[in-house]
Structures are given as C-alpha cells and as structure tokens.
C-alpha cells in the first residue's frame, strides 16, 4: 500500500501551478464571456444564461454536434476494428518488427496542418495521386471541393490514415505481453483460432483498448486542424465539425459570448462522454 504522506502535495505543486495557470485562468475568462454581452469598446453587460440557451437551441450547433458525433463514431468503429486486425497480423519478432513500428508511428509525428496539406495535395483531382487515379484510371468522378460525400469520405480516410496506428501500437503492446505458453496451451487444448482470440488475446488487449478508445474519442472529438486545412469545413458546411465551427464563431466573427458558451457546452460534452466510456469499459473489472 502507498504511504499516507501529505508531502505528496509538495511534489505535485509545480504541476498544479502550471496546469492551473493554463487551465483555470482561461476557463474563468471563458465563463466570464459566456454570461456577458458586448457591443465592442470593451463594454460588457450581464447576459445571464442567454448565450447557453441560444447555442443549445441553435440549429447550427445541432448540425455541427451531429456531424461531430457521426464523425467520431465512424472513425472509432473503423480504427478500432482495423487496428485490432492489423495488430493481430503483425509479426511478433524479427527484423521487420522495428521497421513496422517506426513506419506505423510516422503519421502521428507529422504536424496536423501538414497532414491536412499532404492529403490536400494527394487528393487534388488532376495532379494528386489519389485524385488522378480515381478520376482518370478508375473513372470514378472524385472532387472533394464540390462533392460533400467525397469530402466526408476523405476526412474519414485521412483520420484513419493518421490515427489507426495508435490503436495498432496499443493492441500490439498488449499482444506481445502474452507469453508463448498461452498459445501452446491453447493448441494442446484444441482451441480454434476464434477461441484463441476470444479467450487469450482479447482479454489481454482489453485494458489497452480502453486507453485506445478513450484517447481516440477525446482527440477525434477535439479535432480541428487536419479537416480545416483539408476542406476548410466545406463544401458548404458539410465537414464543419464542432471545433471548426467554434473557431469560426470566436475568431472569425468575434462573437465572444456565444463562442464562450459553446466552448463550455463542448467541453462538458467531451468530459461526460469520456467519463461514460471509462465507466462502461471498466465496469467489469471492479467486481
């Protein structure tokens, strides 16, 4: 057991100060704005919960929120499934392992706007590799800047490209920690491949999958830069996710009140869903 020692606070103090400085002060600012109305000239008037009401009723917010949930649900489903399959297919030892790991981690280390720019170049209709192959080799009309469906699919594929490796690496870490004896015992017990997956590999991956789902949820729910650079939220508003909408309101239109109220609602939703995921996924471990 850990010792009770209030000295712990001393150790945590620097972290506490730094994070509090970064989190609390801006959060206060946001709360402050969210309950006030401004007509410029740095004059502010009490507005109560008016902005919250306005945001919660606005169709624009509902649409962005809906797109956000759809996006997150889709990439979670694809990335988790694909990640597990790829992790299971990875070699466990040998020369290729470090090569696979390094290549797979590479997309995650590319600045997010470069990811967006890279996919933009990749998908240009006539001079991008994907765009050219789609339009000219396969004969499938594809132009992301005009076709909302194409834009959606591209944003999803880009996120899959960018982040599936996170799930792969996490699951892989779980898989390599299974001793050989488990596989040997299963062979001797006559277990099918499915049983090996269901009773040996999946239980071992469960913990890391929880981390993977949580991280992917948080990050995909907060995603901004990549789709913004790729599509700018368009065509129309078709790929305007929550963050993009928020930045449009806050920095584009400088509507500080509504933006602040939306920030708080947004943050609250992220927190709530993260908590929900965490509770649901760890429920069985408690008993």
């Amino acid at each position: 057991m850990r010792k009770v020692n209030q000295k712990g606070w001393l150790f945590v103090l620097p972290v506490l100060l730094l994070v509090a400085f970064n989190a609390l002060v801006p959060m206060m600012t946001v709360v402050n704005y969210s309950v006030q109305e401004t007509f410029g000239n740095n004059q502010f008037f009490w507005h109560g919960l008016g902005w919250f009401e306005q945001i919660l009723r606005s169709e624009r917010f509902h649409a962005a929120l809906g797109r956000q949930f759809l996006f997150t649900a889709m990439i979670l489903a694809i990335e988790v499934l694909l990640g597990v399959i790829i992790a299971l297919s990875m070699p466990r030892k040998g020369f290729w392992v470090p090569f696979c790991l390094v290549t797979m981690a590479l997309p995650m280390l590319i600045p997010w706007n470069v990811v967006g720019a890279m996919w933009n170049i990749f998908t240009l209709p006539d001079i991008g590799l994907l765009g050219y192959v789609m339009n000219h080799t396969l004969g499938i009309p594809y132009n992301m800047t005009q076709d909302p469906l194409a834009a959606w699919i591209t944003v999803i594929v880009m996120d899959v490209w960018h982040w599936t490796s996170l799930v792969v690496l996490l699951c892989y870490a779980g898989l390599v920690s299974i001793p050989d004896a488990y596989y040997q015992a299963a062979k001797i017990d006559g277990a099918s491949n499915w049983s090996v997956f269901r009773f040996i590999q999946l239980p071992k991956m469960k913990q890391v999958l929880t981390i993977a789902v949580l991280l992917r949820f948080m990050d995909s729910f907060n995603i901004y830069t990549e789709p913004f650079v790729l599509t700018g939220g368009g065509p129309g508003n078709s790929t305007t996710l929550l963050s993009i909408d928020l930045v449009k309101i806050a920095l584009g239109q400088f509507d500080l009140g509504p933006a602040a109220a939306m920030s708080l609602i947004y943050f609250a939703i992220t927190l709530f869903v993260s908590w929900l995921f965490y509770t649901l996924m760890t429920r069985h471990d408690v008993k």
Partner: protein, 359 residues
Amino acid sequence: MAKITLDKLRHSYMPDPKGPQDYAIKEINLDWQDGGAYALLGPSGCGKSTLLNIISGLLQPSEGRILFDGNDVSALPPDRRNIAQVFQFPVIYDTMTVYDNLAFPLRNRGVDEAKVTARVTEIAEMLEVTEMLRVRAANLSPDNKQKISMGRGLVRDDVNVIMFDEPLTVIDPHLKWKLRSKLKELHQKVGVTMIYVTHDQTEALTFADQVVVMQDGEVVQIGTPVDLFERPAHTFVGHFIGSPGMNVLPAEVKDGAAFFSGQRIALEGAIIPGAGLHQIGVRPEFVSLAATGVPATVRKIMDLGRHAVVEALAGETRINAIVEGTLPGPGEAVHLSFRPDQTRLYRDGWIASEKERAA
C-alpha cells in the same frame, strides 16, 4: 494411453546445422513405457524443454520420428496427439470460471455437455478444487492456478501422456511439496504416463520411477533414482546428482590398474580396455578417513548435524568425504580411503569399469 517411442530424434534451431555443436538435440532413441512416471532431469539449456516440445508437437524435429504405440505421429499437430502439457507458469483462461477452464479442452473436442459435467466434477474432486468451480480463474492463487492447468490435462480420458515443464517454479516452497505429492497420488490413481521436466534433482528423484538425465542435447543415463545414485554411467550424472556430487579424480591406467597421483586405487571390477582421458569417480559417501590411503590436507569442514562434509586437498585435487563421528581440524594431514565396490573408472566421461558379478 500409449507407449511413446523416440526414434533417431535430432533437432537444431538453425536452418542449416553444420556439426553436432549446432544441434539442441543430438540423436535420441528412447522408449517411454505406458503408465510410467518419468522425470527428465538436466541443467538449464540441456535440451529438455526442446525434447518436451517435440513430443507434444509444438516443435517439429529436424530429423527422426515420434511414435505413439507404434504409430508415427511426427507430422500431427499438438491437438491431434492427445497429449497434455503443464507449463512453467500457470496458463489459465483469465476470463473463464474454473469450471469453464476445466471444460475447455472437452468442449473444443465436441464432447456432449453431460459428459463434460461428469468429468469436470470428477477431476475437480480429485484436485480438491470443487468449491472453487464457480470462481473466476483470474482470482486464484498460483498453486491453485497450476492445479487447474493440470486439471485441463487430466480431464480428457484419452490423453496419451501428460507433460510437466518445471511446473513448480512459481509455487511457494511450502506448497511445492504438497503439490508434488498430489501429483504422485494422481499418477497412481489415473495411471497415465507422465513426463516431468526439472533441473531440481530432489523433484526428479521423488516424483519419478525412471529418471532420464540429459546433458548438452544427449541422454546420458536412464535409470531408477537408486541406479543414478549408486552407479552413475557418466561423470556428469555423478556430479549432478547427489549433494555434494561425486568426486572426480584425474587417473592414469597402467597394466589394467588405475592410479591416482602414483597410488594404485582399487576399483569395482575389471577395466574395459580402451584409450582416452581417464578419471576415477567415487561418491563422498564412500570416502572415509583412514590410517592408510591417499594423503591429503583438510581444507574445510561443513558440519551438517547428522554428518559432516570434509573437504580435503590431495595435491591439486579437491576430494569431499562424508564423515560421521570425530572430525579432523582444518589443516590436519589425513589419509583417505575409497570403498572399492563404489569406486569406478570413467573414460572420456563414460563409465569404463565393469561391475563385479555378485559372487
């Protein structure tokens, strides 16, 4: 249940083995009798786990065949050989209950549920885990986990052999003894062939009827615990079994007699003619302090209560003797005498003196 035959078995982990040094298993021919309790004893890295994995089918041997009751099973996968194996670390399926763990091998083979229940209940009783059947296996203690992995082997009534790969490594010392006697008891009750791999001589000697001693990928001796102790066929066996191990002295052979530092040493019988590096082997139990014999100086005395181990130096050679009664002091000059019928000649490691026929 079956008799297991290993026929000219060789295995190398290298794709293209050049010489004997590249082989983890150097030609083994061996019969395991049906229903026997065997121990496979040897130091770490001697090839015993490799041999075990070849028998179970987890590993394909480079050369040679494995026969179960005369049928060649070399090409069969583990699940079709009807064997069971218990590993060093308890392997259990964490998410299942103890009951489901025990039922797993049967269900995988499509045994009907009524029979599964009957077998699991029976085996659980034998292992004394009946009251744990509904518990999630992840919550068990290591010794109980190991019992469950044994149980998964025992639950099938068609197993040819159960193999144990150092199964007591992670078990607390005071539970080791209990689990080992449980194992012995199960062997007598079920009568299935068991092969027990270990590097611990006590475990091997107490469990097995027959002990197979391996070194460097070779079987050096097969015999009952008494055989191994009394007449080691190889200096390695003499050294590895017994505490302290057999004394091995450099020897010269002239005119059909053996000499150690110029003194003639009486042996158990005639020397088998041949040439090579000669050594004399005698266990400390059969070395005594006497008025005449090999002169030596006492270096160290370890008093173990009932007896003492006296370590003496004869020239450059260290000789242990187990002595009861009055002890010499360190530095004292003594004479050591060897009991002739327990003193043997070894040539290049292998025994080279004949056992005197009982008159």
